[in-house]
Amino acid sequence: MRLGLTISCCAHVAVLAMAVVGFHSTKPFEITPEVALPVDLVSVEEFTKMTAGLKSGEIKDTPQAPKAPEERNAAPQPEPKPEPKPEPAPQPAAAPEPEPAPAPEPEQAKAEPEPAPEPEPKPEAKPEEPKYVQLPRKLEMPKRAPKPRREEPRPTPITAQAQQDQKQFDPNSIAALLDKQERPPEAGGVTQQPLDGTPSLGAPGGTAVRLSMSEIDYLRQQISRCWSPPIGVLDAVGLVVKLDVELAPDGALVRPPIVANTSSDPIFTIASEAAARAVVQCQPYSLPADKYDVWKHMIVNFDPREMLGG
C-alpha cells in the first residue's frame, strides 16, 4: 500500500506541475478591432417629410449639403486645416494675370503680329490649371473640415476673382453645414413644414403602427374640402385646435368631435367650432382599413393656415 501511495503522490505532483505549466501557455484570443460604421436610421415618415418640397423653396447647392453629416463623422483632422487656407490665396494671385494680359495683346498684335501667339498660350495654360485644381477642391473642401470656411470668405474678397470664389465659399452653404446639428437633414429644398409643426395623427397609446405621411395628407385633404375658415382665424398666430375624433371602421364619426385643448384667444372658440363642423361634414373618411386600430381614436391637430394651404 505504501508503494502505491508514493507512486500515486509522485504522479499527481507531476501531472499538476505539467498542468500548471500547460495552463500558463494558454494564449488569449487575438481580437481584431472592428471599425464602427456610423449609421443614421431614417424612418419612412421622416423620409417623406424630408423629401416633401415646396416649389417656392430656394434651391441650394445640392452636393454640399447632404454630404455634411458623413463628413463630420469621417475626419475632423486638425492637420489638413492649414493647407486649404494658403491655397486660395495664390490662386487668385495667379488668376488676375490673364485679365490684364489680353488687354496689351491687341495693341501688340497691331504692331507685331508675330509675337502675339506667344503670350496667348500662357493665359490658355493658366486658366486650365486652376480649373483643374478647383474641381477637386470643391469636393475636398467640405471633407476636410467645415470650420475653416468661416474664416476664408474674409481673405478672398481682397483678390480680383473673389466673385468666382464666393460661389465656392457660399455663406449659405456654410450655414447649412453648421446648422446640420440642430435640424434634420434636408435634401436641398425647403421642407413644407417644420417637423414639429405638422398636424400629427398620433395614436393615444403610441402604438408601433402609424399612418404614413401620405395617408395623413390624404386625411387632411379630405377634411379641408369642407373647411371654410371664419374671418380672422387665418390671421391668428399659433392658433391650433386639437380635435378628439373617434371613427367607426367605415370612416364615419362615432360621436361628434371634442375639442381637446383650450385657449384664451376669443378666435379659438370660432375656429374650434368651424373645425368641428368641417370634420362632421366630411365624414365618412376613407382610410386604410388595416390600420383601423391607429385611426379609430385620434387627436387631429387643426392648424387653420395649414388646412387652407393643403
Partner: protein, 236 residues
Amino acid sequence: MESLIDQSGLSAPTGDLSLITLFLHAHIVVKIVMLGLILASVWSWAIIIDRGLVYARSRQQMNRFEKVFWSGHSLEDLYRTLSARPATSMAAMFVAAMREWKRSQEKPSGSFMGLQMRIEKVMDVTVSREIERLERRLMFLASVGSTAPFVGLFGTVWGIMTSFQAIAASENTSLAVVAPGIAEALFATALGLLAAIPATVAYNRFSSEVSRQAARLEGFADEFSAILSRQLDERM
C-alpha cells in the same frame, strides 16, 4: 495537497487564469472541495496501483500453485513445504484443508461424513477470507467514482453562485468580469471528473478480476474436496 501548496508557494501567479491563481482566488468552500477531490484522486490512484499489484501477484501465485498441485507430487510433501511459510489464496486453502485432514487422522473419530463437512467448511471460510482480502478498499474506488462528480459539481455551483454575487456587486457584466469566476468554478468539476473517471474504470476492472479469482478459488475448493472425499472412500 502538499504538492499543491508547495507549488503555489514556489511559482508566483503570473497569468490571470493559471491553475494556481484559479485555486487561490476561489471561495473557501470551493477550495475545500478542490483539496478533497485532489486527496481522493491521490488515494484512489494509490489503491489502484496497490490492487493492481495484489491481483497480479495472486494470479501468479495461483498459476504456480496449480502447476505444482497437478504435477503429481505427493500432497504430504506439498503441505510440508507450504505450511512452513504464510501462504495466500489457493495455497492457504490447501494448507487449511490439509491441516484439518491431518488433525482428524491423528485422532480418528470414526465419522467420515463429519470430516468431509469440516474440510469443506474450513475451505469455505478460507475462500471468503481470501475474497475479502482481495476486495479490500475497492469500495473506496466505487464511492469516489460515483460521488466525485457530484462533489465537483457542488464546488462549481458554489463558485458560480459566488461569482454571480460578485458580478451583481460590481454591476458589470462584461465577459472579463464573468470569466474568472466561472473558470475557477469549472475547475472544481474538472477535478471531480479527474478523480472519478479512473476510479470508476479501475473499480469495474478490479471487481471483475475479483469475481474471476473467487470463481477460480471456489473451483479449486470443489476439486480438492472431491479429491479428499475420494481418499476417504478409498480408506473405508
